[in-house]
């Protein structure tokens, strides 16, 4: 008689259920790490307490009864206090969920409480996914699904009567757990068929989910109320805000994380070193640059929630389409490479735009990845500004006299709101420092009338000759302007110091200049066909006004080449290939490629994608159907032609032979009852089949007849079931007999 597989008893099922519940709690709790929610204490408590109680469930059974009675009012009070203090509903709810999860994880649970645990976990996982739009969500939801289904399966398998008995009163017996024994029992019960079926079903669930995801009809209500608006964004890693202090950009460069991924419809239009402009800073204050009130005032009011926004810049008709995936925590300012024709968002967005310096921003920093598509944009090294040209024309250069405080007459705040124009000539240095700056201007060679580009190039060379590049600056603290002091020293510096110094040198020479921050460069990910820009690409550079029409990009950081050639964008617009980007390689490239796939195909999947997919599937089916029909038609026509040809004796013989063969085949199948035989072979008992296999094996290896094991195998193969010896013993004996024979036989 075949050995029976052992069964898991009720206690072991309870222990497995407890283990799965603990794992689910940990998984759900750790998703809070990915959210911008302050819950360090709760997370630490969960991380410590849950594994401990999971390992020793007897601890959960020893929680006194009064604790259970106090928990609910205590949790409600803590939630109310939290909400009252933070005034943010979603973070308070997440912390509430975490508290309840912790409580449920460290106390004994009935079926209903297990379901509460699953729902709480689902809440945390989904909220984390929605808030982060991270690819990690896929891993989290898959693990959650596996754990939750396993937990519900064990709940179903546990006898409800025993379940009630275990939670009603006293300490249930199963809390005294020996995990090695549980593991051994699980291994003993494991059966490859069931495991294979489980794996197939899990893969089937994933496939079905993917299919449902693609097929669920999409339409947008565009209500726009959502969780991410109930949560403040993470503290910006980039520091790309309206105020950038020296060292902020270097701080960003130390972060190697992904900042943005860019899909370009024509990668040949991307230069080798693209500059992704995000923010323009005009006002200098000691220690950094900021956006002046005048520049801020140029921003239009936030638009209502829109999908598309038309830019006012020159629209390049043959420009590629750019799709940006901006990671959360970078900035609310959108990276751009030049003037754009149209910007399209994946979901309705409010937008704040300043068309003069070509800046676009979201009203608040997004807590999740932001995707937007830009059309009619080419990488440009110059930005048109006719307004400044008009102002300069209206107010001759001589009138823009530099004052000791560095503020020109033209930049004095005016009007009832105290906001003037942007402060592109602002210096904010003392008279002595101004004199020093002007001395350096003379040393560089002050610009003659209209000779801005030459002066900027000379200034860049001058800076590069005096200072090296370093990520840190070792200037000792002292009185006076930091940039002037650095200019006077031989110390090396980072991009912000070079950019700030060039701005001061230009302004001291009467040339309007401003600092631009964003990203420089990026690498080409061949796997995903996109550009990867990391935070290490953060950079600061300068734009100087040529006095007539354009702001020209100048990058004074050593090795960057100084002033950019203005003709490049014209060449790119004409379709000329830019120099290729560097290729991204290694595991990071694969991961970033996967991430772009996630953003491109999953996160950005919308109604248009669905329609496109259906259309593609329809075209494919149509083409395949046509091919099939034409092939069938060809065959039929060929057969018809063959029949219509004059019949010869050979052909009659062939045709007759074919008919007779088919008839014999059919007759043979019916006569010999092949189908019944096949069914009987397939339906034979597995023990009999295994015995037959062993008999064939022994015969093939020439094991001498007469072995007792052969008789037992024959009995298993053909004998009545009631006379069977234990099959496992017989097969073991057969294996030993074969081994023994193989060892002893003459070579």
């Amino acid at each position: 008689m075949a050995l029976r597989r052992p069964q898991l008893d009720s206690q072991t099922l309870h222990q497995v259920r407890w283990l799965l519940g603990g794992l689910l709690s940990l998984l759900a709790a750790w998703t809070v790490f990915y959210m911008a929610v302050e819950a360090t204490v709760l997370l630490a408590m969960t991380t410590l307490a849950v594994p401990l109680v999971m390992w020793r469930p007897v601890l959960a059974a020893s929680v006194p009864g009064w604790v259970h009675r106090l928990v609910f009012p205590a949790v409600v009070a803590l939630f109310a206090l939290d909400f009252f203090q933070a005034r943010e509903l979603l973070p308070a709810m997440i912390r509430l969920g975490l508290m309840l999860l912790l409580y449920r994880s460290v106390t004994l649970r009935s079926r209903r409480e297990d379901m509460q645990l699953i729902l709480l976990s689902l809440f945390l996982v989904v909220v984390a996914g929605v808030l982060t739009v991270s690819m990690v969500f896929v891993v989290q939801i898959l693990l959650f699904t596996g754990c939750a289904l396993g937990l519900m399966l064990t709940i179903t398998l546990t006898d409800p009567a025993e379940d009630r008995a275990s939670t009603d009163g006293g300490t249930p017996a199963w809390v005294k757990v020996e995990w090695p024994r549980v593991l051994r029992e699980l291994l003993a019960v494991a059966n490859w068929r069931v495991l294979a079926l489980a794996a197939v079903l899990f893969v089937g669930v994933l496939g079905l989910s993917a299919l449902l995801f693609l097929m669920i009809p999409r339409f947008e209500w565009g209500m726009g109320f959502f969780l991410d608006q109930m949560l403040k964004g993470k503290s910006s890693r980039s520091g790309f805000s309206e105020t950038v202090n020296f060292g902020d950009v270097v701080h960003i460069q130390e972060d190697r994380g992904l900042a943005l991924s860019v899909d370009v419809s024509d990668p040949g239009r991307v230069p080798a070193t693209p500059y992704w402009r995000m923010l323009v800073l005009d006002q200098y204050a000691r220690g950094g640059f900021m956006m002046s009130p005048g520049l801020r005032a140029q921003f239009a009011k936030p638009t209502p929630k829109i999908i598309q926004h038309q830019g006012t810049g020159t629209r390049h008709e043959n420009a590629p389409i750019w799709t940006f995936y901006l990671e959360s925590g970078v900035s609310r300012y959108l990276p751009l490479v030049g003037a754009y024709g149209q910007i399209t968002f994946a979901s309705p967005q409010s937008l704040v735009v300043n068309d003069t310096p070509m800046i676009a921003a979201l009203p608040v920093e997004p807590a999740k990845m932001t995707a937007y598509r830009i059309e009619g944009m080419l990488p440009e090294s110059r930005i048109e500004d006719l307004d400044l040209a008009r102002r300069l024309r209206d107010q001759p250069q001589a009138d823009i006299a530099l004052k000791p405080n560095g503020q020109t007459d033209a930049e004095k705040p005016s009007g009832h709101d105290g906001k003037g124009p942007p402060m592109y000539l602002n210096l904010s240095v003392s008279a002595a420092e101004l004199a020093q700056l002007q001395a350096w201007v003379e040393e560089i060679g002050a610009p003659r009338s209209g000779e801005v580009a030459g002066y900027v190039q000379r200034a860049c060379v001058w800076l590069e000759r005096r200072h090296g590049y370093a990520l840190s600056m070792s200037l000792l603290p002292a009185d006076g302007d930091i940039l002037v002091r650095w200019l006077g020293s031989p110390e090396p510096g980072h991009c912000e110091l070079f950019a700030g110094s060039l701005v001061l040198l230009c302004r001291a020479a009467g040339v309007p200049a401003r600092v631009v921050v964003g990203f420089k460069g990026g690498v080409w990910n061949a796997g995903s066909g996109s550009i990867t820009v990391t935070n290490a690409n953060a950079h600061a550079w300068v734009e100087v006004y040529d006095g007539e029409r354009y702001w020209l990009r100048a990058d004074p950081t050593p090795g960057a080449g100084g002033l950019s050639r203005p003709g490049l964008s014209a060449a790119m617009a004409a379709g000329g290939d830019g120099a290729p980007l560097q290729l991204e390689s290694g595991w990071a490239a694969r991961w970033n490629g996967l991430r772009v796939f996630w953003y491109r195909r999953i996160v950005s999947f919308d109604q248009a994608s669905q329609v496109e997919m259906m259309r593609t599937a329809g075209h494919w089916a149509e083409a395949y159907g046509k091919r099939l029909m034409s092939a069938l038609d060809r065959r039929l026509r060929a057969a018809g032609e063959w029949v219509m040809r004059p019949w010869s004796l050979d052909r009659v013989g062939w045709a007759g032979g074919a008919v007779v063969t088919v008839a014999l085949l059919v007759w043979g199948i019916r006569r010999l009852n092949v189908i019944a035989w096949w069914r009987s072979v397939r339906g034979v008992d597995p023990v009999r089949r295994e015995a037959g296999r062993w008999l064939r094996r022994l015969a093939a290896r020439g094991v001498p007849a007469g072995e007792a094991v052969r008789d037992e195998l024959l009995r298993l193969r053909y004998g009545r079931r009631s006379t069977w010896p234990p099959s496992a013993d017989v097969f073991r004996a057969a294996r030993q007999a074969l081994k023994k024979w193989l060892r002893q036989r003459p070579r």
Binding site: G129, L149, T156, S209, F213, W221
Partner: protein, 391 residues
């Protein structure tokens, strides 16, 4: 005194039935029936799937997530929604696989006797090739007694294995009882859906009356025997009267082995009765005789008890119920037949009850044992009109 006949238990077994198999009763095809069955599947073989509380919560959560997904066009929520729906579909699929090729068979051991514990067994067999069956319950009940229970399969039923579930039942009333397997159900695998399936599966059992305590009256001399008298009548005495062929139900102790060997067929011995004290038990079922139902029930119980006791003592010659043909009591089978009739006996109109006691005396002669009400609750047995026992 009240004892019962120790007859051999006989299993009553229904055929194996398999999930999803159609009834053998062929019914003509009708479009109307087909359309109705699509809307409302026949109870007997319908697979019904109803969401449980957990399933309702899951559906509610899915609806909420779907609403939020459409509201915000968030693909994260669409992914979650797809996974939840897939889990529901997987749950239905596994639930179907779980009961697929599962066979069951009801078995009851007869005879049943009202008020005594009886065993109903349900054999399960997993005929699947790869997948075990888990966590099922069977709704089983007694139709007349309106008793129901839920038999649970808590163990895993591996491929090709058989499991037996048992239900101890105590029928309260005599009569024709029907043990019905109303359906099977399962929450497997995740508890989202309650799958139920009707079963056309039943066994019919006759429940004999409960033995009753009664008192034999000796003062009237009704039970008196004539010592030394012998009779040519067949009975349980010590003298060998004749040999006859073996009949089903004869005791093995009566087999005459030498004669059987000689004649090459089983022969049993027949003994003469000890004395002329054999009785004929006749039960009057007329409604006029038994105006109170509880007294009638008591009479039936007393009749059953007396019949069994007298048979054991070898003093029962024949039994009859109302106008039914007389049963000559020769073997256990005869007494069991009478008990079967008693089990389903109902009050009859006077015209169908076979006449009164006077007519019965004419029909059966002397030593006639009859029953009649005794007061408002009791029942007495009379031998030729003399009170012989009271219950």
């Amino acid at each position: 005194m009240a004892t019962s006949t120790q007859s051999m238990p006989v299993p009553v077994t229904a055929d194996w039935q398999q999930a999803g198999k159609r009834s053998r009763v062929a019914r003509g095809f009708r479009w109307r029936r087909l359309l109705w069955s699509l809307l409302y599947p026949p109870e007997a073989r319908a697979h019904r799937v109803v969401p449980t509380l957990t399933g309702s919560v899951l559906i509610g959560v899915s609806l909420g997530i779907g609403l939020a997904a459409y509201n915000t066009a968030s693909n994260i929520l669409f992914i979650t929604l797809s996974l939840l729906l897939s889990c529901l579909i997987l749950s239905g699929l596994l639930s179907w696989i779980n009961v697929r090729r599962l066979s069951w068979r009801l078995q009851v051991m007869t005879p049943w006797r009202a008020g005594q514990a009886q065993l109903v067994t349900l054999d399960l067999r997993n005929r699947k090739r790869f997948v075990p069956t888990y966590s099922l319950w069977f709704e089983i009940g007694l139709k007349q007694a309106k008793q129901k229970t839920r038999l649970r399969l808590t163990r895993r039923l591996d491929v090709g294995e058989t499991e037996r579930l048992e239900w101890t039942v105590r029928p309260v009333e005599r009569g024709l009882e029907r043990v019905e397997l109303a359906g099977l159900g399962s929450l497997f695998p995740f508890g989202f859906l309650r799958k139920t399936m009707g079963c056309e599966h039943a066994c019919e059992v006759i429940v004999w009356p409960t033995p009753v305590e009664y008192h034999r009256r000796t003062e009237g001399g009704a039970w008196r025997m004539q010592p030394g008298e012998r009779s040519r009548r067949v009975g349980q005495g010590g003298d060998l009267l004749a040999l006859r062929k073996y009949a089903a139900g004869d005791s093995q102790r009566l087999v005459h082995w030498k004669a059987s060997a000689r004649l090459r067929r089983l022969m049993v011995r027949q003994f003469s009765a000890e004395a002329q004290d054999g009785f004929t038990l006749w039960v009057d079922l007329s409604a006029a005789r038994w105006p109170r139902p509880e007294q009638f029930e008591l009479a039936i119980r007393l009749a059953a008890t007396l019949a069994e006791d007298l048979f054991r003592e070898g003093r029962l010659v024949a039994v009859a119920l109302a106008a039914n043909p007389v049963i000559q009591v020769r073997s256990v089978g005869d007494i069991e037949r009478f008990l079967d009739q008693l089990a389903v006996a109902r009050l009859l109109p006077d015209s169908m009850s076979g006449g009164g006691a006077g007519l019965a005396a004419t029909r059966f002669g002397t030593n006639l044992l009859t029953l009649a009400p005794d007061g408002i609750r009791g029942v007495s047995a009379y031998i030729d009109g003399t009170a012989a026992a009271t219950a």
